[in-house]
Symmetry: C2
Subunit: 222 residues, 2 copies
Amino acid sequence: MHLASDAAVVLLSGGQDSVTCLAWALTRFARVEAVTIAYGQRHRVELDCAARIARRAGIGMTLIPCDSFAALGGNSLTGPEAVSDGLRSDSGLPTSFVPGRNLVFLTLAAARAWQVGAANLVTGVCQTDYSGYPDCRADTMAALQTALRLGMDAPFVIHTPLMALTKAATVLMLRDLGHLDWLADSHTCYNGSQPPCGTCPACRLRAKGFAEAGVTDPLLGP
Amino acid sequence: MHLASDAAVVLLSGGQDSVTCLAWALTRFARVEAVTIAYGQRHRVELDCAARIARRAGIGMTLIPCDSFAALGGNSLTGPEAVSDGLRSDSGLPTSFVPGRNLVFLTLAAARAWQVGAANLVTGVCQTDYSGYPDCRADTMAALQTALRLGMDAPFVIHTPLMALTKAATVLMLRDLGHLDWLADSHTCYNGSQPPCGTCPACRLRAKGFAEAGVTDPLLGP
């Protein structure tokens, strides 16, 4: 299968990391589009954020539903339980870990890329701020890239521009790319609050990054 | 993550190959359950077949929905188009190839296996009767196994007992396992006909296998 090496599909969740990846991709590839997965997020606002950011960026966005993980249950990102940063007693992984989720989402992004002939996949996974998610590691991404290449007979490249960055460095990357304002339409809060709750693990991680970067979060005000 | 090495999850589509894999798994593992993916098959009868076969085998079956591929479209197994064995002009792959489908289905089976602590995944992919599906090859399965192990931090083993078998050998395997009668509840026909249409590529492949094995297909009569 021939794929264009100057075309990319970005996994866009509407969160800070994926927004930064989108801005990064636009500087690298001539043709960029977004894939957003509707996986039964507890907060539909995330999908609205992704759509608004795609509009700001002037790119197309494909919404791909994925009802599998909500049906499988057993995790705190689609279930009704409050999100904490606790660890599961059986695996030692965070309760927010959904086994297979990133693998499936990237495979769906690759399926879309196959359809439109794009060789590049871009995702905001990050090993530095690694919170115990094994599907965010570089070696997992390398193995998945091999599986996607063989399984679709197509020379995909998975790009992870944030893999080695701290949250502060991610803030500065987006600022330097000139699109910090896009974050006014982003979301991060696990509890789906607008303005963000400020106390969940995701809000605390985001606030820490902006503080260390010495930058004001556009989501929190002008 | 600790997984039991004597427990397995079998991907059960309700077709001949997956039925044979189920019979094989029951001779190898102490604890076996099935995962069936509802992916927008054109024929709901396939899901009924899988459920009946799981009942015959006395095992539990988890139905996992996956609405992603029907939404992505562009293939003949979920779309309204008639199924042929034609090749796509862009990739040279069969029109029935759905990019990423087997990768996602196996990842979902692994997600279920993670939940129930089963180390073994069993799938009926086959390289011998390889019809141009790159996601049925042994090297794809090996790469996916690595990605699943790393991505879920769990020592999964993907078993492909039919990988090197002809269709005739698969018929004889199921007969020797003593469960040829289970095929009375199986399906194969791409057109969803009961009795099978006999003319679609899947029906022709199945008939050829039984003819070469010198065995009467239980689906076609007593």
